[in-house]
């Protein structure tokens, strides 16, 4: 059997009908991983033996987990040398929810950019992941391992984290569904923080229905996370209605300007036409502060990161450089443990918070963040959704942007504002370029309106074939 080809909801249906067992799923999945992992490198520490180890918990459908989500008993290293050997004595709240739902994770940990710093998964101490659609291309990032695993059928579904586009952009590059929930919808407890006010865990799946299912499992108030929202979790699968008639969608003019790849633009326009044909109403809108989003993001995110990463000092866990004296230990441990991009962001963030610069950078960035949020509030008074490309380009070549951080940062130009505003967004596959690389359509909605995203994405999916296309491996 080739059960790994199926979606999670199809598999759950078969388990329910007693056509298959979860052991068969795990066995098939293991074979798939063993077969193609060497090409894709979606995972870190491939637990092929663990997977089928006697007594391994194998209920429901295993979920593959980004390496920055704490898993009790399994190393969680954020793909950084500095966390080498860190085996957390606790599960992230999302992991407990997955286990409580009857599913499992089996120690499948996905590759990522170190500490989620990046848009290509090249900044991993384990080396890059390859895009299943073109092995010479990046899978996007930072949840590139999760996206590539789902796209190549090495994962049935996966969790990623999204600080500025880290779920949606790789979902777009790999032709899968990726959802960034409303800030606070999913508990961050156990997610190793990059930028605490922006981070959210979310699903990467083969179709929209799986995203709804996984959202239902991981969402909800967590008393361990002071920033989690205390609101009931709707049954997201009920939002999967094949109907968009009368839904009002805004197209932000600021997103369709220079820098947008013409081929991507064309594909997005086709998708918009498709939705129009299905009865959705489109109108151009303005998000006037969009041009500041990248700048604001790189101040706030790096400032928070510089503080969040201060704890990696060699005292309690992870790498400790062999040294004499305290200062020496701090310096050498951090010099040896962090990669270049991590160092770059710590320096940027430290600078932005420094005395004498705080007002000009951090405080100003917070004010502009409020303006960006207000832009969205304004549009969502009259519109149900906003549609944009997920990324200005399809997947680029491995090594292409490694030496040009600014170019790399612009890869997230369409996804960053969503995190700054705290609103939810989804990326769904909407086409392939001539070279056969996937393109993603991004849908945004207001706070806690994931149901609208799912409804629109599901309707689009039901009326197109893109989600059924698989890379040839």
């Amino acid at each position: 059997m080739e059960l790994y080809k199926l979606t999670a909801h199809e598999l759950l249906e078969k388990i329910k009908k007693k056509e298959i067992t979860s052991e068969q799923i795990v066995s098939d999945l293991t074979k798939r991983i063993e077969g193609i992992e060497a090409k894709v490198k979606a995972y870190v520490r491939v637990p092929s033996s663990t997977l089928l180890a006697p007594g391994a918990q194998a209920n429901g459908i295993p979920v593959s987990i980004k390496d920055n989500i704490c898993t009790d008993g399994y190393n969680t290293e954020c793909c950084s040398k500095i966390l080498q050997g860190f085996n957390p004595p606790y599960n992230a709240s999302v992991i407990n929810k997955i286990i409580a739902s009857g599913n499992s994770f089996l120690g499948l940990k996905c590759n990522m950019d170190e500490f989620a710093f990046g848009s290509s998964t090249e900044n991993s101490c384990f080396g890059p992941t390859h895009n299943p659609w073109d092995l010479e291309c990046v899978p996007g990032g930072s949840s590139g391992g999760s996206a590539a695993a789902v796209a190549s059928d090495e994962a049935l579904w996966a969790l990623g984290s999204d600080t500025g586009g880290s779920i949606r952009q790789p979902a777009s590059f790999c032709g899968v569904v990726g959802l960034k929930p409303t800030y606070g919808r999913v508990s961050r407890f156990g997610l190793i923080a990059f930028a605490s006010s922006l981070d959210q865990i979310g699903p990467l799946t083969k179709d929209v229905e799986d995203a709804a299912l996984l959202m239902k499992i991981i969402s909800g108030y967590d008393p361990q996370d002071s920033t989690s929202i205390n609101a009931p979790v709707p049954d997201y699968t009920k939002a999967l209605v094949n109907d968009v008639k009368g839904i009002k969608i805004g197209i932000p003019k600021e997103y369709f300007v220079q820098g947008l790849d013409p081929e991507v633009k064309e594909i997005i326009e086709e998708a918009i036409n498709k939705l129009k044909a299905l009865g959705a109403q489109f109108q151009e809108v303005s998000l006037p502060h969009s041009e500041y989003a990248v700048a604001v993001y790189y101040i706030i995110a790096t400032a928070e990161a510089s503080s969040n990463l201060a704890r990696f000092d060699g005292v309690q866990y992870g790498l400790r450089a062999k040294t004499e004296g305290l200062m020496d230990m701090y310096k050498k441990t951090r010099a040896q443990g962090f990669g270049d991009e991590a160092k770059r962001r710590i320096l940027l963030g430290t600078f932005a918070l420094a005395h004498g610069y705080y007002d000009a950078y951090y405080l100003r960035a917070l004010k502009v963040r409020t303006l960006i949020k207000q832009d969205f509030d304004h549009v969502f008074k009259d519109f149900d959704c906003i549609i944009t490309p997920t990324s200005p380009t399809p997947a680029f070549k491995i090594g292409e942007k490694v030496d040009d951080p600014l170019k790399m940062y612009l890869s997230d130009i369409y996804t960053i504002s969503v995190n700054l505003a705290g609103i939810p967004a989804i990326s769904v596959p909407c086409g392939l370029t001539k070279k056969g690389l996937p393109v993603g359509l991004q849908i945004l909605s207001k706070h806690l309106n994931e149901e609208m995203l799912l409804r629109l994405a599901h309707t689009y999916e039901q009326n197109t074939e893109w989600h059924k296309m698989k890379p040839k491996l």
């Binding site: 989500i69 704490c70 969680t76 954020c78 966390l83 860190f86 957390p88 004595p89 606790y90 992230a92 961050r188 407890f189 156990g190 997610l191 190793i192 923080a193 930028a195 605490s196 006010s197 008393p223 361990q224 996370d225 002071s226 920033t227 400032a303 928070e304 510089s306 503080s307 201060a310 704890r311 990696f312 000092d313 005292v315 309690q316 866990y317 305290l326 701090y330 430290t350 918070l353 420094a354 005395h355 705080y358 951090y362």
Partner: protein, 477 residues
């Protein structure tokens, strides 16, 4: 030249909540190192803080008791610096929007009232404890994350004595709220001081020194006194002071300059993104205000008014809440004319029986028993002051009443002149020489003879009556 000191104090106070500020770990003092820790207070990756509601309530109570304005909108900030006792390498504290502002504390010194301004009271978390031994350093994280209040005074304090008084008043006020042990030895109260000198009457401020490492209120006073002498000497010699941080060495009784790193410290404060800001509503403040008991200052004033005590005595009686409660119980049960004596008994002999681990109210002497004892001594004159102290100790040991002890041990004074007369005759017979001396004009001889009577009566004779009777007898002989 004559200088005046300008002093401001920064007090850190542990709140005695059952659990830490941001996790469920116990705050109990004196446990095995690193036995009260969890991923949150150890700052493990992925862990998140959740603020303890009790700590917030306690903090608001302290702010209110110190007459501060509790802010409606307040938030936590991160104070970033690397130190091994700080597992996250940042401390969760408050920066530009603290819990409360603009308070004051009235202190009383030499009968004069002085108002010391309080700049702010804010919430933060404590760090761990470093233990240096055998050439290595160990960290105990039990203290990490214990809720802490920082209470910053205005530079309104003008002498080491005032500083001492401020700390004592602050301690007793906080203890009345029962939100902190305020024990400097256990580190649940810590105090740093800022001090500068300026020519008397000058308006501008001098160069300030920050003093650290004082382990008692007396240490704070001594360090400030030392610093006044040190700074005066430097200023007198015409040299300039440098702004620095100095450590108090209690053994050597001097302050030593701390090695300081080059450049100003930059803590890179920014809003703590893991904790949303608080909105403290009026009704919550009103509700907490209701739970604030009568504070020492008011209690003292009431004691003076209701029980006719002097300010000196009343102040000592109200220093501790439980002891004040005990004292008041006694005062209520005592006849008006005995109240002053009773108060003196409490601050004198009763207080002498206490120790650092056993306060007055813990002596196990019921109020009515103490009232009875004082009555036996002061009113009925059944026993002497000295015997009274012996009885008091016995009361403490056995829990018996004063009357039953006096009866059991046959301690009642003999005041009956009939029974005393025969003893006097006996003493005069046996000490003819002293009798002759008295007659020859040696007044001392009287005291000797009285002493002999006391001895024969095993101390039970009422000395005043013996003296009167003896004098009468000698003069008539």
């Amino acid at each position: 030249m004559k200088y005046e000191a300008v002093i401001g104090l920064e007090v850190h106070l542990h709140l005695n909540t059952k659990t830490k500020a941001f996790c469920g770990c116990s705050t109990e003092f004196g446990q095995q190192p690193n036995s009260q820790v969890c991923p949150v207070c150890l700052g493990f990756p992925g862990s998140l803080p959740v603020y303890n509601q009790a700590a917030l309530d306690y903090a608001i109570k302290v702010a209110l008791a110190l007459n501060c304005q509790v802010q409606e909108y307040t938030k936590f900030d991160r104070k970033n610096y690397f130190y091994p006792d700080l597992p996250k390498n940042y401390q969760v504290s408050q920066y530009d929007l603290p819990l409360s502002l603009h308070g004051f504390l009235d202190i009383e010194l030499g009968g004069k009232l002085k108002r010391i301004g309080i700049t702010r009271v804010h919430m933060e978390e404590d760090a761990g404890k470093l233990i240096h031994q055998d050439g290595c350093s160990l960290v105990d994280f039990n203290r990490t994350g214990i809720p802490l209040l920082e209470i910053v005074s205005e530079p309104d304090i003008s002498s080491p004595e005032e500083a001492y008084e401020y700390l004592s008043t602050l301690k007793s006020t906080v203890q009345y709220l029962e939100v902190s042990d305020c024990d400097m030895e256990k580190g649940s109260l810590r105090c740093d001081a800022n001090i500068s000198l300026r020519p008397s009457g000058a308006k501008t401020l001098g160069v300030k020194t920050e003093l650290k490492n004082m382990n008692s209120f007396k240490g704070v006073k001594d360090a400030l006194s030392y610093e006044i002498r040190r700074q005066s000497a430097i200023l007198d010699s015409g040299e300039r002071l440098v702004q620095d941080t100095r450590l108090w060495d209690a053994r050597a009784q001097e302050t030593i300059a701390m090695r300081t790193k080059e450049g100003a410290k930059d803590y890179r404060y920014f809003p703590e993104p893991d904790l949303p800001p608080f909105i403290i509503k009026e009704d919550k403040i009103a509700e907490l205000k209701k739970t604030i008991p009568e504070l020492p200052k008011e209690k003292m004033q009431r004691f003076i008014k209701d029980y006719g005590l002097t300010e000196y005595v009343a102040k000592i009686l109200v220093a501790s809440k439980q002891d004040a409660f005990f004292a008041e119980e006694c005062l209520k049960k005592t006849a008006d004319q005995n109240r002053k004596s009773l108060a003196n008994w409490i601050i004198g002999p009763v207080s002498a029986l206490t120790s650092s681990t056993c306060a007055i109210h813990e002596l196990n002497i019921p109020a009515e028993n103490l009232v009875e004892l004082v009555d036996l001594v002061e009113n009925e004159k059944i026993i002497s002051n000295l015997t009274g102290k012996v009885v008091l100790e016995e009361m403490r040991k056995t829990g018996k009443t004063a009357k039953s002890i006096v009866k059991e041990k046959n301690l009642a004074q003999i005041s009956d002149s009939g029974s005393l007369q025969s003893v006097i005759e006996e003493v005069m017979r046996e000490n003819a020489k002293s009798v002759a001396d008295f007659k020859a004009g040696k007044a001392n001889a009287l005291m000797f003879l009285v002493g002999q009577v006391m001895r024969k009566s095993s101390g039970k004779a009422n000395p005043k009556i013996v003296q009167e009777l003896m004098r009468e007898r000698l003069e008539s002989a």
